[in-house]
Subunit: 457 residues, 2 copies
């Protein structure tokens, strides 16, 4: 491996320039005006794979933006097959005026590369391609069988990629999946994500009188839909942050003492308070901040609206109130079951004098990688080799919906080896990716596929 | 009086045509584009007063739209002086497309006159002017001293008229005030309003993290401002509708058994449920619907907003939530004190992890006319003479802010002899005023000032 690592060090500048090329492509999937740039993005990735030496490289059409497939299956049948997943599409760069430099003109500054997509996910996924190139040129091949599947609409979320995976289980069949699309809480704390939360997203309408009415003439006579809506939301959690839906925690996997200890090493309340500008944190009593975010279901209202929202005062009792709400669910909760529980509960606590209409907008499964998976151990070794620090196994409060689809269709664990930081401004102006993490990420990937080669397939 | 009543009957059609003339003037005070029409409205009223025989008629400039003043003070020092208050301005007619006929082209249909301002307040106030004309032409004068004060910005609510009253106490000095700007619950139930609620109007901001954050990455870690806002609103009233602000009911005047009996005669829950399309009424336990609306403080959220209010789903924890809220207060509650109590209480129940900013937008005093006022007894007699039915003394859940100013500055009771119906669509499309109520209203006014002449000044 020494030769490979030396080669990576010698070629750092070239890798950076290649990444800059990719970053200049405005592959915004959510905006159909950029379909040409999406095509350029897919073709760039496909060309690169071909140049590195991958076979069967093809831009695959989906019902949405195309995905890129390619494979390198020459390691032998006794070696595991790894599927690399990533996405070449990016979030829209708005608000443009908040960028220090234009989002599609990458710039290196203070040890980081600034551009839309640096951390999410072009820079992160490119670490793998660079490692493949280094391994192939320096050792004559890859130590494991590799399939590459880079999609183009992760940020659009239309479900087209999910459908492609469901319709192509043989093409994508593998023993494990690698994904670099997660980030660390703090720069001094390398982490590997082993679990993602699922999601139940609902919208609720609270209906009162058939028209908006005068609060003087009717105030005190009838239930006010906005007051009633508040009563409903307030009853979802108690003052200790415990979700009040009967049976909601029944399926939640309990944390082991070891997991609680591991989480405690990562937990940093003071850092978090400063980062988001609050005086106090809050949540389910009896659990630390990271335990609540990673291993306990949460429940958040995302939007509320109703009545008079303009300037000054209007004395109206609104006919309707609305709110959007989601619950992040954890292993081993079932999203369909949870959605039904939330819906039933909201209907059951509807105050007298108003009616509720609860609609499930969408949901997704939580994901959990067994912490004793040999692929995970291999990933930890690889991290340690590159970063000189054993990474913590952590969880993630958010969701990467495709991992649940992989889990279901491919029956393989997703090994989430992320090199980003929470502070990288993904989805925000001035998105960036530390050069140190890019270069060490390439090395980590080289070690990673090498480590994988010692796992029994 | 027989001669006066006969004269009114003979001149009904003329009165109607004069009112139609006034209704054609688009005297919309809230929209400065109609300032010319406001001027026309004031001049029309002034001209009419002059023609009837009033002295000192003048269009008085205020800081807002002008008011019209005129007096007829020839009844003698032993007779009371009555101030007639009304407003010649109207609400904007929007939404225009919901009107069956154009709002400023009055039309008679099914026994009612349809146009903006028919019931609120041109038609109602014109009953008095017609009665004055009938009394003067048929009896040679008015039986009491009368001052007329018709303002032009009641629907704009800038406070300019309040200021004018405060600055002109001698001009407007009187023993009682007559106002026809209220309405009956049901057409078979003539009512006189003896009490109006006051108002405390506040706006609240609930502040969480310094920016909108991702509900996956932060959900469970921090207090969500929208969930917290719901907790605050939910704690304002308990499940029985009792306001939870400590001491909030301390100053509330208790209802007598007689008042509860009187209210019960007017109360009609089934009628109300149908009128506004709800399956159940709701409010403070232990009080009937009308008791809650007329004699108990109420508390209503008028608008809530925050977070993502668009289509579909966005998993954001909003940085801020907002709501507008008011409490209608009753005699003998003090609005400044109540505003402070609401503000203090909201601040005291602010959940951990968020901050609140409570702003008082405005407030107004409740008003109560002593039910044994001889002017009120006179008004009841007048109603009975015209409608052949003794009117109920009722209260009103809404506010007419000027009455509190009259109470404070002129120290005189406002006798609220309204001829409208709750179903007249005031402030809404197809506003109308029953012709029967217009004609009987004129007779009531004739009887009214005659009855007043027997009250000891």
């Amino acid at each position: 491996m020494e030769q490979v690592i030396n080669y990576i060090e010698e070629n750092q500048d070239r890798y950076l320039n290649e990444l800059i090329e990719l970053l200049k492509i405005k592959s915004i999937s959510a905006d159909s005006a950029y379909r040409g740039e999406i095509k350029r993005g897919a073709e760039w990735v496909a060309d690169r794979l071909k140049k590195i030496g991958f076979d069967h490289v093809e831009v695959k059409e989906t019902k949405g933006c195309p995905a890129v497939y390619g494979d390198y299956l020459h390691a032998g049948k006794d070696k595991p097959t790894i599927l690399l997943y990533g996405h070449y599409d990016v979030q829209p760069p708005d608000p443009l005026e908040k960028w220090t430099n234009p989002p599609f003109e990458p710039v290196v500054k203070d040890g980081a590369l600034y551009a839309r997509g640096t951390a999410d996910d072009k820079g992160q996924l490119y670490t793998h391609l660079c490692a493949f190139e280094a391994l192939i040129t320096q050792t004559g091949g890859l130590p494991v069988n590799v399939k590459v599947f880079i999609e183009g609409e992760e940020e659009a979320g239309t479900g087209a990629t999910d459908l492609f995976v469901e319709q192509n289980p043989e093409l994508l069949a593998c023993d494990a999946i690698t994904i670099s699309d997660t980030s660390w809480n703090r720069p001094d704390l390398p982490t590997i994500v082993t679990s993602l939360r699922g999601l139940c997203y609902l919208e609720v309408k609270v209906k009162g009188p058939s028209r908006d009415v005068h609060s003087g003439v009717y105030g005190g006579k009838i239930q006010n839909p906005l007051n009633a809506m508040a009563k409903i939301i307030a009853q979802l959690q108690d003052e200790n942050g415990v979700i009040q839906i009967p049976g909601y925690y029944d399926d939640v996997v309990k944390l082991t003492e070891q997991e609680r200890k591991d989480f405690a090493r990562v937990n940093d309340d003071e850092y978090l308070k400063k980062e988001i500008g609050v005086k106090a944190l809050w949540g389910e009593k009896g659990f630390s901040t990271e335990e609540r975010n990673w291993a306990r279901p949460s429940l958040d209202v995302h939007g509320v609206w109703g009545g008079y929202m303009g300037e000054g005062s209007k004395t109206v009792i609104a006919s309707e109130g609305h709110f959007k709400i989601s619950s992040r669910i954890v292993a081993n909760q079932n999203p369909e079951k949870c959605c039904k529980m939330i819906k039933d509960y909201i209907e059951s606590i509807c105050p007298q004098g108003v009616e509720v209409e609860v609609k499930v907008l969408h949901y997704g499964e939580p994901v959990m990688v067994p912490v004793d998976s040999p692929y995970l151990v291999a990933a930890q070794n690889a991290f340690e080799s590159a970063f000189a620090k054993r990474p913590q196994l952590v969880r993630e409060g958010a969701s990467i919906p495709i991992t649940a689809v992989f889990q279901k269709v491919l029956k393989a664990p997703s090994i989430m080896v992320g090199f980003g930081l929470n502070a990288d401004n993904i989805h925000s102006p001035d998105e960036n990716f530390r050069l140190e993490h890019f270069y060490k990420g390439i090395k980590t990937c080289a070690y990673l596929y090498d480590e994988f080669s010692r796992v029994k397939a």
